[in-house]
């Protein structure tokens, strides 16, 4: 699905990603954890094509194509989706119009016919029911005045509607109450298949009870310093990051 090799990226001259290596196959779920400021969102943004980050070294291959060479919209059309840690409000554009535009642009690119308004409506109705989302949110402006939880749910609605190959969820669980967390996890699990993959960025083991990862990685200072299976998340929950990061700094100092 995606293979990241020795990825380095700067923001405003400061190196944030310092050599990331990660391979995700179809059918897998990977969790990325790590302390605040370690570079998790930066990695997600770089993969989605944010132009504020400068890639200085490394490569990313996405289904055999050079991901770093593509504009953000082409990455999305090739099947990459990022659920934002902080979804953006867009006044004056209805949520439904926005999603319909997005979906049809992606379909056009892939040689599929555009959905008629009726087909589209049926589709988002079905998907918003999975997420227990109030249909009034569809006619409102994108994310405008949405509660924190509603914004996160809306990201997952977009994911379900677009049905990407690789979904990167950047702290989709933060700001969700227990019930919403379950519902959103159900949504993600409904999306999962052998043909797609998910990368979840999270601080909490709690989410991983619902979305069970195949692999857990710890990102620290722009590098993956430890990888393991789902038990690693439990261990982190118990011990925090200190036992890992101290070692990492020592190795760095050598």
């Amino acid at each position: 699905m995606i293979e990241i090799k020795n990825l380095h990226a700067n923001v405003e001259g400061k190196e944030i990603l310092q050599g990331i290596n990660l391979k995700v196959n179809a059918g897998e779920i990977h969790a990325i954890m790590g302390p605040n400021g370690s570079g998790k969102s930066t990695l997600a943004n770089v993969l989605a094509g944010h132009e504020g980050y400068e890639v200085t070294e490394g490569s990313v291959s996405f289904n055999g194509k050079d991901l770093l060479d593509m504009a953000p919209e082409d990455r999305a059309r090739e099947g990459l989706f990022l659920a934002f840690q902080y979804p953006v409000e867009i006044p004056g554009i209805s949520n439904a119009t926005f999603l319909q535009t997005a979906l049809n642009e992606i379909r056009k690119y892939n040689g599929q016919p555009e959905l008629s308004p009726k087909e589209f409506l049926d589709l988002i109705k079905e998907k918003s029911e999975i997420l227990n989302m109030d249909s009034s949110l569809l006619s409102r402006a994108v994310n405008q005045g949405f509660s924190g939880g509603e914004k996160k749910r809306n990201e997952i609605l977009q994911m379900l509607t677009i049905n990407p190959k690789l979904a990167i969820l950047d702290e989709t669980d933060s700001g969700l109450d227990i019930d919403a967390l379950k519902i959103v996890s159900q949504g993600v699990n409904a999306f999962r298949s052998d043909d797609n993959a998910v990368i979840v960025v999270t601080h909490y083991q709690r989410l991983l009870d619902y979305i069970v990862p195949d692999f857990v990685h710890v990102l620290f200072h722009g590098k993956i310093i430890k990888s393991g299976n789902k038990d690693l998340a439990l261990e982190l929950e118990e011990k925090g990051y200190d036992w890992l990061t101290k070692g990492s700094l020592e190795t760095q100092n050598v």
Binding site: A71, F84, P87, V88, G92, L103, E105, I106
Partner: protein, 444 residues
Amino acid sequence: MASKTKNANAKSWYIDNFFDFQKKLNGQSGSFINESRIEAIDKLKNTDFPTLKDEEWKYTNITPILNHEFKSPLLTGNPEINAGLVKQSLYTGFDSHLLVFVNGIFSEEFSDLSGIPQGVTINSLNKLIETDPDLIKQYFEKVEYINTFNLVNTAFAYDGFVVIIPDNVILKKPVQILYLTGHKNETVLSAARNLIVAGENSQAKIITNYRPVYDNTYFSNFVTKVFAGDNSVIDIYKLQNESEKAYHIETTKIEQQQKSIVNHHSYSFGGKLVRNDINVKLNGEFIESHLYGLYLGNDNQHIDTHTFIDHAKPNCMSNELYKGILDDNSRGVFSGKILVEQEAQKTNAFQSNKSILLSDNAHADSKPQLEIYADDVKCSHGATVGNIDETAYFYIRSRGVPSNIAKSMLIRAFANDVLEPVNISALSETLSHQIFEHLHRAEI
């Protein structure tokens, strides 16, 4: 030195021209309004056109206007207008009473005055001067003067629109006034004096729509007076779509009585050099004044808005929201002055001016001025100039939306809080569409 000569040349052009203009007036030369004309031209003899040294004109160089010799349509003759042009120039999708003016002169043929409710006046100033001078005399000061262009207006205005709503009448249909301007081979001066009077407890919606006959150089120079009686509600939509070579200057003076509400919406699409002055006097208690403006610039357009809000009495609120979307080499200017007089306790006055620059060569100036003499007031003002929001731009594109449509969405999002108060839904859609059209952007 050069500008001094230009100033003098332009003045003597208008002064010399005035005699020829007077000869063409025939019947109107004896009317009360002609006394104002003569007074205005006398005053012009002793008044210079503003330069960049004038505080009120420091961002707007008017030399290009002085370089042209603009002539009254009484001297150039008026072009033939056909129904097709009128039709394509109108805002549609809703019923309206219609007044059409060609180079500032009323065209009865293309206007639609049918179905005007009893007692309501929707008509041409020139006609009313003949038929009912006493009705309008009371509302006209001899010379409305806040700048030198007003003198040119008063001297050369032959006509204008008049809307008078009697007490307790709610006008259901909006009034649309179409100003068609331009001449095939002359640089024409369209000067008009307009009047809106809303009686006590009355309500009206008025749309002024400025369009070219030919896409060439002309000068629209207007003065509009608005009286909002006790408890009245007036919505004014100024929709400026002049030719891209046109000069457009309008002074709007609004006087509000107690408990009245005025919503002034200004959309500036066309014009090469545009200057709007909007002066509001809140002359009673519990008044609301809402001023919304959206100005769009492309090429070398220069769009200048000056507002002056005079809070004269307590317990009123004014709210100004002006937004500029500036592309290419265009420049947007906003200057907003708020005066809170000593008596005007418990005033709420808000002002916001935001611009986005779509190109490196676009430019925006913003100048808030507060003068507050009362102590119990809430005033706020804010001005921002920025580029398109990169995070939002990335967010939209990350959903597969191409960059040009993503930009259009952000432009629409930026304009949203100005568009939202437009309470004629077909009009709001058309204006939204016009934003993309004017900026040569993809529709969404």
